[in-house]
């Protein structure tokens, strides 16, 4: 019984590991991953609005995790059940060195202990006892050392191993994984001890498709050992400032490479020439590399290239005509480069572009005319440029735009009429001092907006009347100082709001909090620098989803908020003052 009905491996949610967890935060301190420990699966509503009861399995697992000390071993259980118990214990942070013993020889497939507190060499016995069943292990941010890692040898079938931020693992420890030839994913972020010598073990991992060496500062010269890894598809060496042009040479053999990240390295145009033959390359990140437009010559034959990040590099107007050859590009990041409108003329033909970042480039209205035909654009970043009202005219036909950032540009209310027909826009950043109530009135047709940033715009109570048109708003920032309690009255009906920032509106009083109390979806609230007092806090008790609350520079004290946290808002993770 049991085994026959085992849930299949791919129904479990461990994709995080397989994908290398790029988006996850890794750090020993300051992580909030473990702060949410509630067991709230039962309260999901189904279509009829009824509550779906927790399954008997869930109830049993929950029961066990609460009384874990009563159980000596789970090795008699089918492994998919012990796996679920293990996952629940990790999730609820009830697993410790003692309770771990119950999982000795349980044939677990996934040991996901990334960032889990207290993991060290003493845990490795039980982990390695899973033997050939173990398929993935995440020990990131643990105190496991070289001698602890030695045990992993016994787990011949491991496919994914995550050792990010393991400060005590060096070349010696890396030597233990020599025989793990089933590894497809290996992650060693921020390991400063690993050197070129230690990397020689990688040459035997012939099935490796994903290798993450981000922030490894000693790997210069070690990439020669990757030469034979014909299956390698993704290589991350972001922030490895030891990487030079010479390190690029061995990469020319990796014909299956699809993703290469070398941001903040020392790679120059010369190093990029070695990438010429990587015809499957789809993503290339060279942010902060000392490259110029000359490197684009080497990329012009890469017909699969979709994502290119060359922000904060040495690209200028010189030679930038070569951009016109990169016709397959969908995402291009040119931000923070010293280049002018001249570059934009060469982007005109990149008609597949969906995302373009020109943050802080020296571009203005004249350049934007070249973007008018890029009708696939969904995301356009023009923050900190010299773009003004005349430039916006050229954007009026970009009907697929979903996200537009115009913060710190020269635009005024008059220019916004060019945006009024862009009904696909979901996110709009108008953090510009010259924008006023009149500008907001022009945009009322953009009813699909979910994110609106008016941080330093001059919005008053009158302007908030227009916000009623944006019923789908999930985040809203108005911090120009012009709002009073009367204006907040127009905000209280935006029931979808999850993030609300009304700081620096010094006239807001406790009355505002009373109205905000109806926004029960709020996750983050900031009403700093206002007249809020402790008496107003009682209105916030209805905001059960709140995780972040900032009431800095008000009459509210740290103790007041702490009490609110303890008595009514247990899910608060960050709060100010504290």
């Amino acid at each position: 019984m049991g085994g026959a009905c085992s849930r299949k491996r791919d129904q479990q949610t461990n994709d995080d590991i397989v994908l290398g967890g790029v988006s996850r935060r890794y750090s020993k301190s300051g992580s909030s991953k473990w702060l949410g420990t509630s067991f709230s699966r039962a309260s999901v509503d189904n279509k009829q609005g009824n509550t779906i009861p927790p399954s008997l399995m869930e109830l049993c697992i929950y029961k066990i995790s609460q009384e874990i000390d009563e159980y000596g071993t789970f090795s008699m259980l089918p492994r998919d059940i012990s796996q679920q118990i293990f996952n629940e214990l990790v999730y609820s942070q009830r697993l410790n060195e003692a309770s771990l013993e119950a999982f000795l020889d349980c044939a677990l497939q996934d040991i996901n202990l990334g960032e889990y507190p207290g993991v060290d060499d003493t845990w490795m016995d039980v982990i390695s006892s899973q033997g050939s069943s173990l398929l993935s292990a995440d020990l990131s941010s643990s105190d496991v050392t070289d001698s602890g890692l030695l045990h992993i040898k016994e787990c011949k079938n491991v496919e994914a191993l995550n050792l990010n931020f393991c400060e005590h693992i060096s070349d010696v420890g890396l030597g233990c994984i020599t025989g793990l030839s089933n590894l497809t994913s290996l992650s060693l972020k921020r390991n400063t001890s690993i050197t070129a010598k230690g990397m020689s073990v990688l040459s035997g991992l012939v099935n490796l498709s994903k290798l993450d060496l981000e922030r490894c500062s000693g790997i210069h010269g070690g990439l020669v050992h990757l030469r034979g890894l014909k299956k390698l598809e993704a290589l991350n060496m972001n922030c490895c400032n030891c990487i030079t042009d010479a390190d690029m040479k061995p990469l020319s053999d990796l014909r299956n490479l699809k993703e290469l990240q070398i941001s903040s390295s020392k790679v120059t145009d010369n190093g990029v020439t070695f990438l010429k033959g990587l015809h499957k390359l789809a993503l290339l990140n060279m942010e902060r590399c000392p490259i110029t437009a000359a490197c684009l010559d080497s990329l012009s034959d890469l017909v699969a290239l979709l994502f290119l990040n060359v922000s904060r590099s040495n690209i200028t107007d010189d030679g930038c005509d070569k951009f016109s050859k990169l016709k397959s590009l969908k995402v291009l990041n040119l931000g923070f480069n010293d280049m002018s409108d001249a570059v934009l003329a060469h982007l005109k033909g990149l008609i597949n572009l969906e995302s373009l970042n020109l943050d802080s480039c020296r571009i203005g209205d004249k350049g934007l005319v070249h973007l008018a035909g890029l009708v696939c654009l969904k995301c356009l970043e023009l923050s900190d440029t010299e773009v003004g009202n005349n430039g916006l005219r050229h954007l009026s036909g970009l009907v697929n735009l979903e996200s537009l950032n115009l913060s710190f540009t020269l635009i005024t209310d008059g220019g916004l009429r060019h945006l009024s027909k862009l009904s696909s826009i979901r996110s709009l950043n108008l953090d510009v001092r010259q924008i006023t109530d009149a500008g907001l009135a022009i945009l009322t047709s953009l009813t699909g907006l979910t994110h609106l940033d008016l941080f330093c715009a001059k919005i008053t109570d009158t302007g908030t009347n227009h916000l009623r048109n944006f019923k789908k708003l999930r985040s809203l920032e108005i911090c120009g100082g012009g709002l009073t309690d009367a204006g907040v009255k127009n905000i209280k009906d935006l029931k979808s709001l999850m993030l609300l920032n009304l700081s620096q509106n010094s006239h807001l009083s406790d009355k505002s909090l009373e109205m905000i109390s109806e926004l029960t979806n709020l996750v983050s609230l900031n009403v700093s620098s206002s007249r809020i007092t402790s008496a107003g806090l009682k209105h916030l008790t209805s905001l059960k989803k709140l995780k972040s609350l900032s009431l800095e520079s008000t009459k509210v004290t740290a103790n007041d908020i702490k009490r609110l946290h303890e008595s009514h808002l247990p899910d608060l993770v960050t709060f100010r003052p504290e």
Binding site: A4, S6, P53, L56, M57, C60, M76, L77
Partner: protein, 98 residues
């Protein structure tokens, strides 16, 4: 209670539990057994034998079925599980997709 609205669940020791069909259908496995097309004995006689589930566990499972229906209709009470039953109950729950 009409006979066609009930099903009979039989434990390893041969103990019979007659319960509402819609309660038993909380289990995906039982639902499949009772509704599958063809001439299966389970479908015809509306009874299922569980040679690997003891009477104590099957009783607990029947309690869960009724609790689950109550919960779904809005009466969200706690379902008590005796610690000594947990492991065996889990294996049965796994088998019954419950």
């Amino acid at each position: 209670m009409k006979k066609e609205d009930t099903v009979k669940l039989i434990s390893a020791e041969g103990f019979e539990f007659v319960i509402d069909k819609n309660a038993a259908m909380v289990s995906q496995t039982i639902r499949n057994m009772l509704t599958s097309p063809g001439d299966f004995a389970e479908t015809e006689h509306q009874e299922v034998t569980f040679p690997e589930i003891s009477t104590t566990i099957l009783e607990k499972i029947c309690q869960y079925f009724y609790w689950s229906l109550q919960y779904a209709s809005g009466k969200e009470t706690e379902f008590h599980i005796e610690p000594e039953l947990t492991l065996e109950l889990m294996m049965a729950a796994n088998y019954l997709h419950t």
